[in-house]
């Protein structure tokens, strides 16, 4: 009975996982040096770095795709978590100030001449610190006020955005301003296995917490007051969800900069595919998010090689019109 009831979301989830796997392989085939599908599959089954294809795939392309998938999955999951908790489809994972805090730290770091290898760590720490500050401001008694959370996130984001603009305007060298802007546009250029490992550990912790909270999220879909009456510890759940979403977003921001829009639209796409049950949306949002960023990154790498466009800019330019078309087509028909 139970399996039959959930057959449709199970099938949709399986299909999303399958398509995601295919997209990951296709993503590895596309680039300045294109490879056949069979070569990529052959390398995945029997890695051989003695060949040129093997070196390109294992040293450059696959780590980059792994990071793209990680960024998409993390932002998609964080967006789903926050939209479900706040019962607001307009919420973005950057609401908690993570991107603005990280951007501010990165801007100051670049302007101060910090080593490029230190920037991801700097972004991660700043993102988490900002999320903690927003959470502290949103705290009322033992609970978490949703209104205060949104207000604190928006206010601090505006403050940090002002600081970033100031740093760009005051920076004496044009290169500094360009580096900051490239980071703000969201880019995966030059990322390697080391970045993937570090971000993967943080995102993995956030994802584990998010998946553990899936049944609790289903309780919150009844609204806060009813969830309390149904035995949900709403206050504790709020802190857990905020911690998971902040970890996921900080991990993504640390390796990719500000890739906008993913965390906003992935929950919408996911709900259309598997429904609103948090147990399915949490998992499906990782597949959909990963697919979205991997496809955008493949386009960014191959649209005008050797130019490597910022993936965040590309998602905004192509993703937004497609999303608007899909979202509004149903209403007009």
């Amino acid at each position: 009975m139970e399996l039959r009831r959930y057959r449709a979301p199970f099938v949709a989830l399986g299909a999303a996982a399958l398509v995601c796997a295919i997209v990951l392989v296709l993503g590895a085939a596309v680039g300045a040096v294109p490879f056949g599908f069979s070569i990529v599959l052959g390398q995945l089954v029997h890695p051989d770095v003695s060949t040129q294809a093997g070196r390109i795939l294992w040293d450059i392309r696959i780590p980059r795709i792994a990071i793209a998938a990680l960024v998409g999955a993390a932002l998609g999951m964080a967006g789903t978590l926050l939209q479900t908790m706040l019962r607001n489809p307009l919420v973005d994972p950057y609401l908690t100030g993570t991107s603005a805090g990280a951007a501010c730290a990165i801007a100051i770091g670049i302007a101060a001449g910090a080593d490029a290898s230190l920037l991801p760590l700097l972004a991660f720490i700043a993102a988490l610190a900002t999320a903690a500050l927003v959470a502290a401001l949103a705290r009322t008694g033992a609970g978490l006020s949703h209104e205060r959370l949104i207000l604190a996130g928006v206010s601090l984001s505006a403050l940090f955005a002002g600081v970033v603009t100031l740093v760009i305007l005051l920076s004496p060298r044009a290169g500094t301003a360009l580096s900051i802007l490239a980071w703000l546009g969201g880019s995966l250029a030059g990322r390697g296995w080391r970045d993937a490992r570090t971000a993967g550990i943080y995102a993995g912790c956030g994802a584990a917490l998010a998946l553990a909270l899936a049944p609790t999220l289903n309780g919150l879909r009844f609204g806060e007051a009813r969830a309390r009456a149904l035995g949900v510890d709403v206050d504790r759940a709020g802190w857990g969800i905020l911690a998971a979403a902040s970890l996921l977003t900080a991990a993504a921001v640390s390796v990719s900069g500000v890739v906008g829009f993913v965390g906003l639209i992935v929950p919408h796409i996911t709900r259309r595919i598997v429904g609103a049950d948090a147990r399915f949306t949490q998992l499906a949002s990782t597949f959909v998010g990963a697919m979205l960023v991997v496809v955008a990154d493949a386009v960014a790498r191959s649209i005008a090689p050797p130019l490597d466009l910022p993936v965040g800019v590309l998602i905004s330019m192509f993703g937004v019109p497609i999303f608007i078309f899909l979202a509004f087509r149903r209403r007009s028909t």
């Binding site: 139970e2 019962r87 309780g219 009844f222 009456a229 149904l230 035995g231 709403v234």
Partner: protein, 260 residues
């Protein structure tokens, strides 16, 4: 068994109710009546442990409600409020299954055979099997009320707290709803129901708690609570009470220019 002893409730720093003491026995249906804004819903939420009391103590089955954790409260008390946001993208089955949340550890993703049996029984008892797969948001007000009751039945608690379960219902659906609640109390549950219609309260409740003048003015059988002078004072309008030969009572407002 619910014990409310010397309870005071405040709202936004202002004390709205003081010195409220009452008891609701097993298998008893207590109706709470009183003018708008007097604190009926607030009292209900305090009994559910969803709202702190300014003074006094509330115990359910001998346990102070404030000392219970969220899940323990959810297994002991079902609170159904008609107002509030609608659960999004849920079928009727999903909503009723929500009643099993207090029994599900955080790490368990799927329902147990016990959960499924409880949901099936609740849907059967409340006669909503035909609605089971329909989106909750598309139901009429009356249908939604039945689904909320089904959720409370699936929650399988000793205590039912219902805030205006008959608001928006016509006379037939009101009758069905309260008959269903009586059926549940006949099985040993205690129920506290906030109602606006005095005659519906008198027809179905074992006792009536009348709130007014920032306190509990009376808590007794309908025949004893329905005093013209008392009701008139609480509601601020002339109210006539008619006593029937079978012992039942009716209360009605006397319209201006009409005789009793």
């Amino acid at each position: 068994m619910i014990h409310v002893q010397g309870v005071a409730l405040a709202y936004g720093g202002c004390r709205i109710l003081a010195d409220v003491s009452l008891t609701v026995g097993d298998g008893e249906l207590l109706a709470v009546v009183g003018p708008n804004g007097i604190g009926k819903s607030t009292l209900l939420r305090a009994i559910a442990g969803a709202r702190a009391v300014a003074a006094g103590e509330i115990t359910v089955d001998g346990q102070p409600i404030g000392s219970l954790g969220a899940r323990a409260r959810g297994r002991l008390i079902a609170l159904i409020e008609a107002d509030g946001p609608l659960p999004d993208h849920m079928t009727v089955n999903d909503v009723v299954a929500g009643g099993r949340l207090p029994y599900r550890p955080w790490w368990r993703w799927s329902s147990t055979p016990d959960d499924r049996r409880a949901v099936d029984a609740a849907i059967g008892l409340t006669e909503i099997a035909a609605l089971r797969e329909r989106p909750f948001a598309e139901l009429s007000s009356g249908e939604r009320q039945r689904v909320w009751i089904a959720l409370a039945v699936a929650q399988d608690t000793r205590v039912l707290l219902l805030d205006e379960p008959t608001s928006h219902l016509d006379i037939r659906h009101t009758f069905d709803m309260l008959t269903l609640i009586r059926q549940l109390t006949a099985g040993g549950k205690s129920a506290v129901v906030v109602l606006h219609d005095l005659n519906v309260a008198a027809a179905f409740a074992d006792r009536i708690a009348l709130l007014g003048e920032r306190t509990l003015l009376a808590c007794d059988t309908p025949a004893r609570v329905f005093e013209e002078q008392l009701l008139g004072r609480v509601y601020g309008i002339p109210i006539a009470v008619r006593r029937e030969p079978d012992g039942s009572v009716l209360a009605f407002a006397v319209a201006p220019g009409r005789s009793r």
